[in-house]
C-alpha cells in the first residue's frame, strides 16, 4: 500500500507504483519526426550564429538544424558530435534557456527561441539509436594518457584522444562511469539508463579502458600515473559538499542533496526511497532545485527551498525556478539557516533568519521563522577536494579552491592537464566540462605529437 503524503517522518513508498514512473518520465519528451521538421523550419540559418557562440562547445547549430530540415539527421548528429561527443546528454541537461536558446535571434524576435536542445536530442537519438559510430581511430601513436574521473570532462577528453590514436585509461573512484551524468543529474532529465548508454557509445570508438573503483590518493597517485603514461588529465569534479554552518546540522536526517540524488539515481525501484513528509532544501542552485523537485515527485507533502538571497541571484535559471514552482515546491528567498531543530535525535524543523542586503553585504536581520521539517537537504554548493592530489608535491597549484589551469587546460605540473568542475574556469555545467575535456585533449595531442 502506498504510504501517502500525510504519513509523518521519513518513509518509503509514499506513492502508488505507477505514479513513480509517471513522475520521473522525460522532462522534455523527445520530438517526433513531424515536430522536428516543423521546429527545424523555424531556424533562420544565421550568419556567425549567436546560438553557436553561446554554446560552450560551439556546435554548428544552424548547420545541424538545416541538416535535420532536409531529412539528414545522421549528418546533423555528426555535426553535433564533431564538437561535442556528449551531445546526447547535453541535449537533455543543458540549461538551454541560459545558453544557446537565450541567444537565439527568435528569442529576440518573438520570445520563442528555436528549440535547439530538443532538436539536438532528435538528431543524436537517431544516430545513437542506429548505433552509428562516426569516428575511426587514427593510427596508434604509441602514446598513452591516464584520465582521472569518468565524468563529462574525462569522457570527452578520452574520446578525442582515442580518436587521435592515443591509448587511454580512465580511472574513476565510483563503481560506474559517467560522473554526475550517472550520479547527479535529475532522474527526469535522463531516464532509461541513458547515461550508461552514452558511455558505451563514446567508448565504442575503441582504445579507451575504464577502470572503476579506483580512487586517486587511495589507489594511485599522479606521479605514479606519470611513470606509466605520457600525460595525465584530471577531471575529478567536486567531491566535497559545503557545510551549512548552522547549529545541529550533524543531526540525523540532515543530508547532502547530492547524496540523496545519487541514491535516487542508483535506485532500481524508486518506491524504496525514503522521503520526508516535510522537506527543507537549503540552497539556490540547480542541485537545490533538483533535490526539491525530486523530493516532491517522491511524494513529500511540503517541500521548501530556503535561499539566502533574492530570486535574481539564484544559480538555478528562471526555467528551473518555474519548474520547481510548477511541481509544488515553495521557494523562500532572503532566509538563511540558523539552527536545525531536533527532538530525540530526529529533525523537527529548521529555524531560519531573515536576511537583507545592506551596505553591499548580506546580513541577518535577527528576525527568525521556523519551518517544520522532518528531512533537510544541504545544497549550498560543492567544493573541490584537493587532498588526493597530495603526493604530487606542490606542483599542482590550486587557486580559489580549484585546480589552476591555463587557456589550454595545462596545470602547473608538467604533463598534467585538468578540466571540468575541478578547474576554476567556466560554469559548472556538463557542456563546459565537455568543452574543457575536448580542448585539453587537443593540447595534450599537440604536446605528445609535437
Amino acid at each position: 500500500m502506498a504510504q501517502g503524503q500525510f504519513t509523518d517522518g521519513i518513509v518509503a513508498g509514499r506513492l502508488a507504483p505507477p505514479d513513480y514512473s509517471a513522475n520521473f518520465s522525460d522532462l522534455h519528451p523527445p520530438l517526433d519526426q513531424h515536430e522536428a521538421l516543423v521546429e527545424s523550419d523555424r531556424c533562420y540559418f544565421c550568419y556567425d550564429a549567436p546560438c553557436m557562440q553561446a554554446c560552450p562547445t560551439s556546435i554548428d547549430i544552424p548547420l545541424f538544424i538545416r541538416e535535420i530540415s532536409t531529412g539528414n539527421p545522421l549528418g546533423a548528429a555528426k555535426t553535433i558530435f564533431d564538437q561535442n561527443i556528449l551531445g546526447g546528454m547535453c541535449a537533455r541537461v543543458c540549461p538551454t534557456e541560459t545558453l544557446c536558446e537565450e541567444a537565439c535571434v527568435r528569442e529576440t524576435a518573438e520570445g520563442k527561441p528555436v528549440q535547439i536542445g530538443r532538436l539536438q536530442r532528435f538528431a543524436t537519438d537517431v544516430a545513437m539509436g542506429a548505433g552509428r559510430q562516426f569516428y575511426q581511430r587514427a593510427a596508434d601513436t604509441g602514446k598513452s594518457v591516464a584520465i582521472v574521473g569518468a565524468g563529462p570532462a574525462g569522457l570527452a577528453c578520452a574520446h578525442r584522444l582515442s580518436m587521435l590514436g592515443h591509448a587511454v585509461t580512465v580511472l574513476d573512484a565510483r563503481p560506474k562511469p559517467g560522473g554526475l551524468n550517472e550520479y547527479g543529474i535529475a532522474a527526469y532529465k535522463t531516464p532509461n539508463g541513458f547515461a550508461q548508454a552514452e558511455v558505451d557509445y563514446i567508448t565504442g570508438i575503441g582504445g579507451i579502458t575504464i577502470e572503476n573503483d579506483k580512487a586517486l590518493g587511495r589507489d594511485f597517485s599522479v606521479s605514479g600515473l606519470l611513470e606509466e603514461h605520457d600525460a595525465v588529465f584530471l577531471g575529478m569534479g567536486l567531491a566535497g559538499v559545503n557545510a551549512l554552518r548552522a547549529e545541529g546540522e550533524e543531526a540525523h536526517n540532515v543530508e547532502n542533496a547530492v547524496d540523496f540524488i545519487a541514491t535516487l539515481r542508483q535506485a532500481s525501484d524508486l518506491s524504496g526511497i525514503r522521503i520526508g513528509r516535510r522537506v527543507v532544501v537549503v540552497g539556490g542552485g540547480m542541485t537545490a532545485v533538483d533535490a526539491a523537485v525530486q523530493a516532491r515527485l517522491l511524494g513529500a507533502e511540503e517541500v521548501t527551498i530556503a535561499y539566502r538571497r533574492g530570486r535574481e541571484s539564484m544559480n538555478a535559471s528562471a526555467f528551473e525556478q518555474d519548474l520547481a514552482a510548477s511541481k509544488g515546491v515553495k521557494i523562500r528567498h532572503w532566509v538563511q539557516p540558523r539552527r536545525v531543530l531536533t527532538e530525540g535525535g530526529e529533525v523537527t524543523g529548521v529555524e531560519l533568519e531573515y536576511t537583507s542586503f545592506e551596505d553591499g553585504r548580506l546580513s541577518g536581520t535577527g528576525q527568525t521563522l521556523v519551518i517544520e521539517a522532518d528531512q533537510v537537504f544541504k545544497a549550498i554548493g560543492q567544493n573541490f577536494v584537493a587532498a588526493p592530489l597530495n603526493g604530487s608535491g606542490e606542483k599542482i597549484a590550486v587557486e580559489g579552491g580549484r585546480i589552476a589551469v591555463d587557456g589550454e587546460g595545462r596545470t602547473t605540473m608538467p604533463r598534467v592537464w585538468a578540466g571540468g568542475d575541478c578547474v576554476g574556469v567556466g560554469e559548472d555545467l556538463t557542456v563546459s566540462a565537455v568543452a574543457q575535456g575536448r580542448d585539453a585533449a587537443m593540447s595534450i595531442h599537440k604536446a605528445l605529437i609535437g
Binding site: D41, R42, Y47, T108
Partner: protein, 444 residues
C-alpha cells in the same frame, strides 16, 4: 464601403473572385459549396466532346513543392479535362445557374480543332444558359498529345481560327484561356483578339516536373515507376502570370482587351495586384485546393478594406492603374539612387543580410562594430540592390531609402542629379542618343 461587384464582359458577379476551371468546379456539388462560401463565379471544369469521356490516371495526379512549415508553394498536376459525361455536366450547369442566378458560370471547352466539333458543342452549352465560354487552349499535358489544349494554344493561327468559329456559332461571350508554355505571350493574345475573342484569361499551368523520387528514380507523381510532365500552378507561378498579364495589357495591339487574371492568386493582395496590372477579375484554383473555399471570405474583406483605405469606390477605380508603370528596362531612371537602411530597433541580428551582401553582392553590410555584433549598411559600398531586404526575416527592418537630388552618393562620389536619365542616353551605351527617350504614354 467599397463596391466590389464585378462586371466582366457584361457578366455580373458579386465579387471579382472566380474559381478557375479545375477540380474545385468539377461538378454541381463542389460549385454549390463554392457559391455557398461566397465565390463570385466559376469556370466549370473543362468539357470535352460528346461520347465516352477521357479517363484520368488511377494513381497520384499531384506533386508539390513546399516552403517552411510545409506551406504549399507550387502544385503540379497530370489531371485531364472532365472525366464525366457531357450531358451530366450540362444538366448540372443548367440547374446550378438556375439556382444561383447572381453568380457567374462559364463553360470551359476543349474539343478537337475541327469546325464541326465546336459547332456541335456550342448550342448544347448555350442551352444551359450559362454566362459565357472559355476556350481551354492551355492544358500542357495529356490533351496536347491529342492535338488539343496547349497544342492549339501554342499555334496563334489555330487560336484565331477557333475563336472565330466560336464567335460565329454562339452569341455567348468568348474568353480564350492562354497557355504560358510559349516564348512570347503577346502572339497568342493578339491571335485571340484577331479571332474576335471578347477576352483572354491567363495563365493555365506551366509544363513541369516537380520532383524526382530518388528511390525509384522517376518523376513525381509516379505512376507504376514512371512519371510524366505535368502542369505547375500555385503561389510559385504568380510572378510569371503577372508578367504575362502586364505584357498583354500594355501591348499596343491588345491594349484594352479584357483579361481574367489567373495563376497563384492566394490572397486579396494577389488579386489586387493582378487587377492593378489590368485584369478585370481573377480566377483561383490552387489556393482553394489547398485551403478550401472559405479563403474567399478573406479575399472579399481584404480587398474591400484595402479599397476603403485607399478611397477606391469601385473595382474600375484601380483596375489597370499599374499598367502604365510597367516599362522596359532601358527607360528606368538611372538617376534614382537608393541605399539600404537597417532599423536597429527591429533588427534581430541574424546576420543574413551581412552574409548575403558579403558573399554574393557588394560587401556593404558590417557584422561588427567596436567588437560588438552589429549590422549596418556601408553607404560607400551599397549599390542599392535590395537583396538584403529580400533575405531579412523581419518585415520592414531593412528599407531602401532614396537619396534626394543634390545628395552625395558616397559610393560613386557623385551628387544625385535631379533629372531623369536612362540607358538610352547613357555614354556607356554604344547606341546612346542625346535626349532621353521618354516612356511612351499608353494610348487611352
Amino acid at each position: 464601403m467599397a463596391d466590389i461587384r464585378s462586371d466582366f464582359l457584361g457578366i455580373k458577379s458579386p465579387n471579382p473572385f472566380w474559381l478557375a476551371s479545375a477540380p474545385p468546379t468539377d461538378k454541381a456539388y463542389n460549385v454549390v459549396r463554392a457559391f455557398q462560401a461566397g465565390w463570385g463565379g466559376v469556370v466549370w471544369k473543362t468539357l470535352g466532346e460528346e461520347g465516352p469521356p477521357v479517363v484520368n490516371v488511377n494513381g497520384p495526379r499531384y506533386g508539390a513543392i513546399w516552403g517552411a512549415d510545409r506551406r504549399l508553394l507550387g502544385l503540379n498536376n497530370i489531371e485531364l479535362i472532365t472525366d464525366r459525361q457531357l450531358q451530366v455536366n450540362l444538366q448540372e450547369m443548367k440547374q446550378v445557374k438556375r439556382d444561383w442566378p447572381d453568380r457567374a458560370i462559364i463553360a470551359s471547352i476543349m474539343v478537337p480543332c475541327e469546325e464541326h466539333a465546336w459547332k456541335a458543342i456550342l448550342p448544347l452549352v448555350e442551352e444551359t444558359e450559362v454566362d459565357g465560354i472559355e476556350l481551354n487552349f492551355g492544358c500542357p499535358h495529356g490533351m496536347s498529345e491529342r492535338g488539343m489544349g496547349s497544342a492549339v494554344g501554342q499555334v496563334p493561327e489555330y487560336i484565331e481560327m477557333v475563336a472565330r468559329w466560336c464567335k460565329q456559332y454562339t452569341r455567348m461571350p468568348v474568353i480564350v484561356k492562354l497557355t504560358p508554355n510559349i516564348t512570347d505571350i503577346r502572339y497568342p493574345a493578339r491571335a485571340a483578339k484577331r479571332g474576335g475573342a471578347d477576352a483572354v484569361s491567363l495563365i493555365n499551368t506551366i509544363s513541369s516536373i516537380v520532383s524526382v523520387d530518388l528511390d525509384d528514380f522517376a518523376p513525381q507523381p509516379t505512376i507504376d515507376g514512371k512519371g510524366s510532365h505535368g502542369g505547375y500552378c500555385g503561389p510559385a507561378v504568380k510572378p510569371i502570370a503577372l508578367n504575362m498579364v502586364a505584357e498583354i495589357a500594355r501591348d499596343p495591339e491588345t491594349r484594352g482587351l479584357p483579361i481574367s487574371g489567373i495563376g497563384g492568386v492566394t490572397t486579396w493582395r494577389d488579386a489586387a495586384e493582378f487587377m492593378a496590372l489590368g485584369a478585370g477579375n481573377v480566377q483561383v484554383c490552387t489556393a482553394a485546393m489547398t485551403y478550401g473555399f472559405k479563403i474567399v471570405q478573406e479575399m472579399i474583406t481584404g480587398l474591400s478594406n484595402w479599397m476603403d483605405s485607399k478611397g477606391h469606390q469601385r473595382l474600375e477605380d484601380f483596375i489597370g492603374r499599374a499598367t502604365p508603370n510597367v516599362t522596359d528596362w532601358q527607360y528606368l531612371n538611372l538617376n534614382y539612387v537608393t541605399k539600404a537602411h537597417i532599423d536597429q530597433d527591429l533588427c534581430i541580428k541574424c546576420g543574413r543580410c551581412h552574409i548575403a551582401c558579403e558573399d554574393t553582392s557588394h560587401q556593404a553590410i558590417t557584422n561588427m562594430l567596436d567588437g560588438v555584433r552589429h549590422f549596418e549598411v556601408i553607404e560607400e559600398e551599397c549599390v542599392g540592390c535590395n537583396l538584403c531586404v529580400n533575405v531579412c526575416p523581419v518585415q520592414d527592418c531593412i528599407t531602401m531609402e532614396r537619396l534626394a537630388p543634390g545628395d552625395l552618393d558616397r559610393r560613386t562620389g557623385k551628387v544625385v542629379e535631379p533629372t531623369y536619365a536612362n540607358w538610352t542616353t547613357h555614354p556607356n551605351n554604344p547606341m546612346h542618343r542625346e535626349a532621353p527617350v521618354q516612356v511612351p504614354e499608353p494610348a487611352e
